[in-house]
């Protein structure tokens, strides 16, 4: 079986699956049970400064959206950072780390934007024996109104400044957790890098309203007739998170900046995808909150099987493996021509591909009187819509036309060489250069 041991910024863990800073890591009881279940590490629920504890709402704090069969796809929350006293959390962190020395124990922090506050808390964390700190610059609600969380995370200069303070005041590795509630994720990542961060982790939750109560006319979760925007997470946010991770990973200046991938990781596959796009490990919150700690067993078995099948012996072989293939549109090969193919043995004749293509796309699917569905190569632009709406996995596939074959839609033979927009005659820039 493949070795899943991971070294992330010098922090070793038996596997790359960490629990993200959130309720699953808010207390000793949870974290011990998580470690027993097999999690490789945790980022402890964000600690604030000493003093009167944070208060949370006492009504519902989560909203959700569901897929078929009420499978939870997206979760939204209005919870704040830990509402338990600082000394209690620190004592528990120390006890757990002592009993599980082989697991990663990172402590998430969010204190006011003054150096004194960071100077005060860092030695207390160091004293617990924790392996590192994560700076929570991401929380989109409740804390940002107080000048913390995403209020800092949205201003690259602040990120750089706070990161520098932290690096100057502790020997512990420092991971900067980024908020996705910005326009260009590379800016805050660069700032963290410039401030000396050992790594970035992303994403934190996305500003969102999941639903509106149409009787109360208030956003959900509704508290006494009112609602506030919350942070969105779970499977629904994975595509956004993957893109942000990839954007950082493929920026040359940050090629050596380790990334902890977060956002919708639910299965081994999600984790492998994050890692291939540049994440050195992954963090999980919603999946554990939906299914319990046991899901890590599937992540472990699945990732090891995949790595075995790929002949990979260490997770480092997987990390960044897809980064070189993340490109920009103008570099995609326009001479790569495919056509949709319907496997008639798998087809159940539902007609969804037909409806999609006929009504909204290119009228490239024909339906016979006895409900046989076939693709018209002279109309098919290979958009992939039919593949995505077909209820049967693998029923419609995209088949590449061989070099020299005639694309019936254009009447032109498929060219052997790569040809993209940068050299395309329709590109005004190309036309200009030719003049």
């Amino acid at each position: 079986m493949a070795n899943l041991t991971t070294d992330f910024v010098g922090i070793k863990s038996p596997n790359p699956f960490w629990l993200a800073s959130a309720p699953p890591t808010d207390k000793e009881y949870n974290v011990r049970r998580a470690f027993e279940a097999g999690w490789g590490g945790v980022v402890w629920k964000t600690l604030g400064e000493a003093g009167p504890p944070i208060v949370n709402v006492n009504g519902p704090r989560y909203g959700a959206i569901w897929g078929a069969d009420r499978r939870l796809l997206g979760l939204n929350n209005i919870e704040l950072i830990t509402d338990r006293p600082l000394d209690v959390n620190l004592r528990e962190i120390k006890a757990v780390k002592r009993d599980y020395p082989d697991r990663a124990m990172v402590v998430s922090l969010m204190v006011p934007c003054v150096e004194e506050a960071w100077k005060a808390i860092l030695p207390l964390v160091e004293e617990t024996g924790a392996d590192g700190v994560e700076l929570n610059f991401g929380c989109p609600h409740g804390m940002s109104e107080r000048g913390m969380g995403s209020a800092v995370g949205q201003v690259p200069e602040y990120i750089e400044m706070v990161t520098r303070w932290v690096k100057q005041n502790t020997r512990m590795p420092c991971i900067v957790k980024l908020t996705p509630n910005i326009t260009d994720i590379r800016k805050p990542a660069m700032a963290a890098h410039a401030g000396g961060a050992d790594a970035v982790s992303l994403i934190n939750t996305i500003n969102s309203i999941t639903s509106v109560d149409l009787d109360l006319f208030a956003p959900e979760p509704t508290i006494d007739g009112k609602g506030a925007h919350g942070g969105y997470c779970g499977p629904a946010v994975k595509p956004i998170a993957l893109n942000m991770v990839a954007e950082i990973a493929r920026t040359p200046e940050m090629a050596d900046l380790p990334i902890s991938g977060i956002g919708g990781v639910t299965t081994w596959k999600d984790a492998a995808e994050f890692m291939a796009l540049g994440a050195g490990n992954v963090q999980v919150c919603t999946a554990a909150m939906t299914y319990g700690f046991k899901i890590v067993q599937e992540m472990i078995s699945g990732l090891s099987q995949y790595m075995d099948e790929k002949g990979m012996t260490s997770t480092s072989e997987l990390v960044r493996k897809a980064v070189p293939n993340v490109s920009d549109w103008q570099h995609l090969n326009l001479n790569y021509v495919t056509k949709a193919r319907i496997d008639q043995d798998l087809c159940i004749s539902c007609g969804r591909c037909f409806a999609a293509c006929e009504d909204t796309s290119h009228q490239a699917i024909v339906m016979s009187e006895d409900r046989v569905f076939t693709v018209k190569d002279d109309e098919c632009v290979a958009c992939n819509l039919c593949v995505n709406v077909c209820p049967v996995e693998g029923c419609i596939t995209m088949e590449r036309l061989e070099v020299g074959a005639i694309d019936e839609r254009t009447g032109r033979p498929v060219a052997a060489e790569h040809g993209d927009w940068t050299s395309h005659p329709n590109n005004p820039a190309v036309a200009q250069a030719a003049e």
């Binding site: 319990g292 699945g302 996995e393």
Partner: protein, 441 residues
């Protein structure tokens, strides 16, 4: 009507080969990839799942189904086989309707369980088709263990012991290994020689030698085994059958159901296997249903199961009863055989209706019968065995018998239902206990 079908007596070739092979085809078939994904998607990944508790081998069902859902049926198979090395056979023969699927939260809520058995088969078949055996042996311990009986109990015990590094010798009286997997299970549950293929696959672990044709009590004694080996496991099942006491029970055509089924399982050309036109099966368990259904599939015209108590007391599950009914088998309950009539060979069998407490009602009826199968229970046979509890070997905890160094499990041991999966669980648990005992010594 076809003359062959109407022909009286016990004759072969009642059906043409196509009808035979259609009848004896795989009962449930294998799920396609798409079906497996859809079925797996229904599982809620329950906490402390009731299905796991209901599985005698404690397979982690939510985990293996999630592994299927995430595209790793091989990992799913390993989850299954770690607990139940005969997960492939159990997926085919377990009465899931009274085990895992009966308590699945979706059965309870919607009357439609997650298809645990078929998903289990999907996973294990995938792995076995790749020829992969995902377990290996620990360093050799030098200990030697004798196992009597190469049925599910004996083989599960052997595999676990071999995994722990012990050397295992399995003795079996019959010419082939597998026990009732090979000689008993209905043909449409174990198609394409699955029982034998599973044994071959299981033996890939190494360290297990099977000696067929060697019977305890005939070719060797308990005391020889005890002195020649570090431990002994008895998994010899139930070799005898209960006798039918009604007058005339010795007439020609009155047979043991298990013998008929064994012949059927070993038969390579079903059109050569004779069966009666009017078949009566006496009993109410799985054996009765299997004998009746397979008689019907061989072409018997009238097949009737007669059971002495009420339907709710039948050991065959409601699902099995419905299967029999669907194949055209009639089930009569609350009737006991009182006489077998006929001149040399059976012609009729006479029953008396009974109350639920078996009190005779005085009312009798007769059924035409040219073949009668007795399926009224099997019994343990053998001398010099450890102490019995009732009619089976008494065991405490993980199969410890009254004799030091001798363990027992499966049908021959008291406690637990007589099922393949229970036999596997008991064999496995005894192996763990033997391992602990030997390594301590």
């Amino acid at each position: 009507m076809d003359a062959r079908a109407l022909k009286e007596g016990i004759v072969s070739g009642r059906l043409d080969p196509d009808a035979l092979s259609a009848g004896f085809a795989d009962l449930h078939g294998q799920l396609s990839n798409h079906e497996a994904l859809v079925a797996a998607d229904r599982c809620y990944f329950c906490h402390d799942a009731p299905c796991v508790t209901a599985c005698p081998t404690d397979i982690d069902i939510p985990l293996f189904i999630r592994q299927i859902a995430t595209g790793t049926p091989e990992a799913a198979a390993k989850t299954i086989l770690t607990q139940n090395i005969m997960g492939g056979m159990c997926a085919r023969v377990c009465p899931t309707e009274t085990l895992c699927e009966e308590v699945c939260v979706r059965e309870v809520a919607e009357g439609e369980p997650v298809q645990i058995g078929r998903l289990q088969r999907y996973a294990t078949d995938t792995l076995m088709a790749q020829g992969v055996h995902p377990f290996s042996r620990a360093a050799p311990t030098g200990k030697r263990i004798a196992i009597v009986g190469a049925g599910p109990a004996g083989l599960a015990c052997a595999h676990r012991l071999a995994m722990h590094g012990h050397d295992v010798l399995v003795f079996d009286a019959r010419p082939k290994a597998g026990g009732l997997n090979e000689y008993g299970i209905a043909a449409y549950k174990s198609t394409e020689d699955f029982a034998a293929r599973e044994v071959d696959w299981l033996l890939q672990i190494g360290g297990i030698e099977i000696r067929n044709g060697i019977a305890l009590g005939r070719d060797m004694t308990m005391s020889e085994l005890q002195s020649d080996y570090d431990a002994v496991f008895l998994g010899m099942g139930l070799g005898g059958v209960n006798a039918l006491t009604a007058p005339g029970a010795d007439k020609e055509g009155v047979l043991d159901a298990v013998g008929f089924i064994a012949d059927l399982r070993q038969c390579t050309d079903l059109s050569s296997l004779p069966v009666g036109r009017d078949v009566v099966v006496i009993g109410g368990g799985m054996t009765a249903v299997d004998a009746a259904v397979q008689s019907k599939l061989l072409g018997a015209l009238n097949v009737t199961i007669v059971y002495r108590r009420g339907r709710d007391r039948m050991n065959a599950s409601v699902w099995e009863q419905e299967l029999a009914a669907a194949k055209g088998v009639r089930i009569i309950t609350n009737a006991s055989p009182v006489a077998v009539h006929g001149n040399g060979a059976v012609r009729e069998i006479e029953f008396e209706f009974t109350d639920d407490d078996l009190t005779p009602t005085g009312q009798t009826f007769r059924l035409a019968a040219d073949q009668v199968f007795k399926a009224i229970g099997q019994t343990l046979t053998g001398d010099d065995l450890p102490d019995l509890d009732g009619r089976k070997i008494a065991v405490t905890g993980p199969g410890r018998t009254s004799v030091k160094g001798v363990w027992a499990g499966g049908d021959c041991a008291a406690g637990g239902e007589d099922l393949t999966v229970t036999a596997v669980a008991e064999g496995r648990d005894a192996a763990e206990d033997i391992h602990v005992a030997l390594m301590r010594a």
